[in-house]
Subunit: 533 residues, 2 copies
């Protein structure tokens, strides 16, 4: 079967624009906006676009869409999916027997098991008809049954198949608000909660509200999770970068943020918001409380909305660091509703639960005037509501079983097992990276990623150039082809020009880690041998 990618390449070559064909053009092929994505499963034969007389062309498409990039699901994943098909059809044809997806924070795809209690409750809410049956007592824990009844009672008409209030079911928001209060020690209003299909749609919603044109800027860390750059591009705004300091463990230096804010303003950009990802993605650092205070003060003084990506709040692996929500920090400084505009994003996809496929999450929206809140509600209402199972799960992760509940011990064992294993895996992989020639890697204090820096020999950089790709993408592709390990080139997240990195999740199951380490090590050694001086 001829591949879609071939059709795409041909189309590109045939198009009048010849920027990819100029031998002296230093732009890496892969950093062009329109060449990153390949549908993994072609549905049409790969004939040229010129065969078609169809209305939609790249020239007529929304240029913001063309500009948008999302490396986490980019070209490297398409190659991996193709290799996976090869593995299934041609046994033994490749030098490895499985693809290890370390490109994305998707724990259950790598074998992590869901938390039993959460799934019991979800199943019972999906099919409440069995709640009264005697067999159910034998199949489900008593507190799961009780919780399912409680949740059903919170849903108007017990209708789990109905659209809910556009912010989410009120009773579930009450539960989430109570969970936030326990976490922070400060009041949380359930009407500040907007339940969403994961954190991504919530981020899009805020970008949609804040960005009118490219004159509106959003301060984002570099490296950043590419949802932010993608969303800013899709909404036509300007990403104003601030660089995290790799030398101080991906430190967030306020002087750097200030410098970038001023630079943007001097260019006529109105900076609307500051994105902070804590714990960091792809960088894994956990912010110190003092640093968070500075950030809050800065946003307040500069009139910036603080967009706090706190989806890794449960993922902290080092005893000397602790997660503090930005709302807790702001409230502890005495700042309330009228002082600072703050949005906190949370997701059921991360934490110890890792329920990515459920698409649940919420944003807590504080410090906006009533007329702006009305507009946020309106935008939420256009999509009616988020999925109810995801809403239920969001309420569960914010109110898990408590001491004394029938499920508590098994729940605790599952949770602690996952979190301590993640901590061990983070440490093992960090050590492994640091033992490689020309590689340095900061500690993953939290989140699910390592972001090692690689120093590649000049010859490798030249080879990448010849292959019309960036050196980090070149390295990652070679790694994939040799080992089946999928990581994402640092260029997908942004990095200080001249530096090279990749993002690798800490998510392969623990029994696979030794193989990952040895495959990585062997590959790196032979790569360096091949290209060394």
């Amino acid at each position: 079967m001829r591949r879609f990618v071939i059709g795409r390449a041909r189309t590109l070559l045939e198009r009048s624009s010849s920027r990819y064909q100029q031998p002296n053009n230093p732009t890496y092929f892969l950093s062009s906006s329109s060449s990153r994505f390949f549908s993994s499963e072609p549905s049409m034969d790969s004939s040229d676009s010129s065969d078609f007389s169809l209305p939609v062309t790249l020239d007529s498409l929304n240029p913001k869409v063309l500009k948008c990039e999302y490396a986490v699901r980019g070209e490297i994943v398409s190659i991996a999916q193709r290799l996976q098909e090869e593995l299934m059809t041609k046994k033994g044809a490749l030098p490895f027997d499985e693809i290890l997806y370390c490109n994305i924070g998707n724990p259950q795809s790598l074998g992590q098991q869901p938390i039993t209690f959460f799934r019991e409750v979800l199943a019972l809410c999906d099919h409440p008809a069995i709640l009264d049956r005697s067999e159910t007592q034998g199949l489900f824990s008593a507190d799961a049954i009780e919780r399912a009844w409680k949740i059903l009672d919170q849903i108007p008409g017990r209708a789990t198949g109905a659209y809910s209030h556009s912010q989410g079911i009120k009773g579930l928001r009450d539960t989430i608000a109570a969970g936030i209060e326990v976490r922070d020690g400060f009041h949380c209003d359930p009407n500040d909660i907007f339940l969403t299909d994961g954190a991504s749609p919530a981020v899009h919603m805020m970008m949609q509200l804040l960005i009118s044109s490219e004159a509106d800027g959003i301060l984002c860390p570099i490296p950043q999770y590419p949802l932010y750059s993608a969303s800013i591009a899709l909404h036509g705004g300007t990403l104003v970068p601030y660089y995290l300091d790799e030398a101080t463990g991906w430190g967030l230096e306020l002087s750097e943020v200030k410098r970038q804010l001023e630079a943007a303003r001097s260019k006529g950009v109105t900076v609307r918001a500051l994105v902070v990802i804590n714990p960091g993605n792809p960088t894994g650092q956990v912010l110190a409380e003092d640093n968070q205070r500075e950030i809050v003060e800065f946003c307040r003084q500069e009139g910036l909305v603080l967009l706090a990506d706190e989806v890794y709040q449960e993922n902290v692996y080092v005893p000397e660091k602790k997660f503090h929500s930005f709302k807790k920090i702001a409230r502890s400084m005495g700042y309330g509703e009228k002082d600072i505009s703050l949005v906190s994003f949370q997701s059921v996809s991360k934490g110890y639960y890792g329920e990515c496929g459920k698409r649940g999450g919420y944003m807590e929206v504080t410090g906006f005037t009533p007329d702006i809140r009305e507009q946020i509600y309106k935008v939420a209402s256009v999509n009616l509501c988020s999925n109810i199972s995801g809403q239920i799960l969001a309420s569960l992760v914010m109110s898990p079983p408590k001491v004394g509940d029938e499920s508590y011990e098994s729940y605790r064992a599952e949770r602690d097992g996952i979190l301590s294993s993640l901590a061990r895996r983070a440490k093992t992989l960090e050590d492994a990276f640091n033992s490689l020639e020309g590689v340095t890697c900061n500690k993953a204090e939290g989140a699910m990623y390592l972001f090692p820096r690689i120093h590649l020999p000049e010859k490798a950089i030249k080879a990448a150039e010849a292959a019309k790709t960036s050196p980090d993408a070149f390295y990652c592709r070679r790694l994939l082809n040799a080992t089946g390990i999928v990581v994402v080139p640092g260029s997908g997240f942004g990095q200080v020009p001249g530096t090279l990195h990749f993002r690798c999740t800490i998510l392969p199951q623990e029994d696979k880690i030794p193989a990952v380490v040895s495959r990585l090590t062997d590959f790196h050694k032979s790569f360096m041998d091949e290209f060394r001086g």
Copy 2:
């Protein structure tokens, strides 16, 4: 408790713009874009915005957001939610004892029960640990257990908690494609399917791709489902209206479409796509096959993408009409991939299943060149994937139990019970509306709505003007306050200027229909008595 709405009104009054205060301004208050939406549950006290020193103001907000309207969840619903709270807190204070939400196609919120087989499979997929247990045999039907196993086998690693391929799980798309083939008798490629969190995000995705600026137009029926106007506004495009002909049962006249297309082009608008809703929302008509052929031919010749909203494909109530997908029509005319660009939207929220809260749906995308498909895939990938339960449910509605399966008879009874009851309810309500003074109502051949036209006395229109609202909104608000019945003013969908309508779902359970009819009839009579000459 002081109400949010008061704060909003005060804010509006204090703002320098005084357009709402000019007595001679004929603009209806409620048709202003920024005054339609009220958060039903205020979380802040209703002090003036001027008390705040917060960065985001209506002036700095994305004007596209301000422009967007979504009446189905607009002001009337906020009033209803407030009345519902009153009902709970002050028994007997209102002239009715429940709110009947006829504003939105949300069957399970009004008591419709989910299809048992679908829910059994969902529950088992949520908690596969019980699949092997002996008690499960007693609780679930054998074919539900079998189907759950089959679905789990289609999911890589059986991980229902993992992000899937951004188009949705391949095995589920295979099932959906097979279902479409059975429906249409033409080939369907699973790689043309994009699973989404309901149809709404799919529509947004296409609008995002097609609209670059207000120079891009989308032809939409008037009346239309306001998702379209909202989405076009959010993406900054131009809605090019074509009017359905009420006199011929909401007929779609191609001459009218052509006239509007030409008018738009003469104003410099590039029309990108034609939206057709079949069966119609809010209008309930089912297109005749000949009419569909004309539409296909027209789109092909004019180079328009045909955006076919086919979410009511299972909801046809009259024997003389049958649903035909636009893809079937196009293929039966001999038009293939290279002839016409066609997107068909489907949802698990409608049909006989009405699983709105599950947020499942898909779009079938045909007739786009590989480079455009790549861009569609990229946009899908930025949100990672749609929720897996919704994906599973979408596969189930496209492949329900078959003759011979254990669940078949009960499934068929549930399905036919719901559909025949909907048909009876549609007829009863249609007759009731037609018996009212000054009201005419076309038949609901399909979908879930009636869209009666109301002729109001001059005095009522004057009273509406005095109340700074549109006459249809005035009528609907009075109806709500008198009866607890929530319907949506026709102005939320668009209507021929000078005509007045409202949309009423046919979804109250059958035992409630007599009360709905008598309350409606009594209200209408006393309304007319009050305002007549």
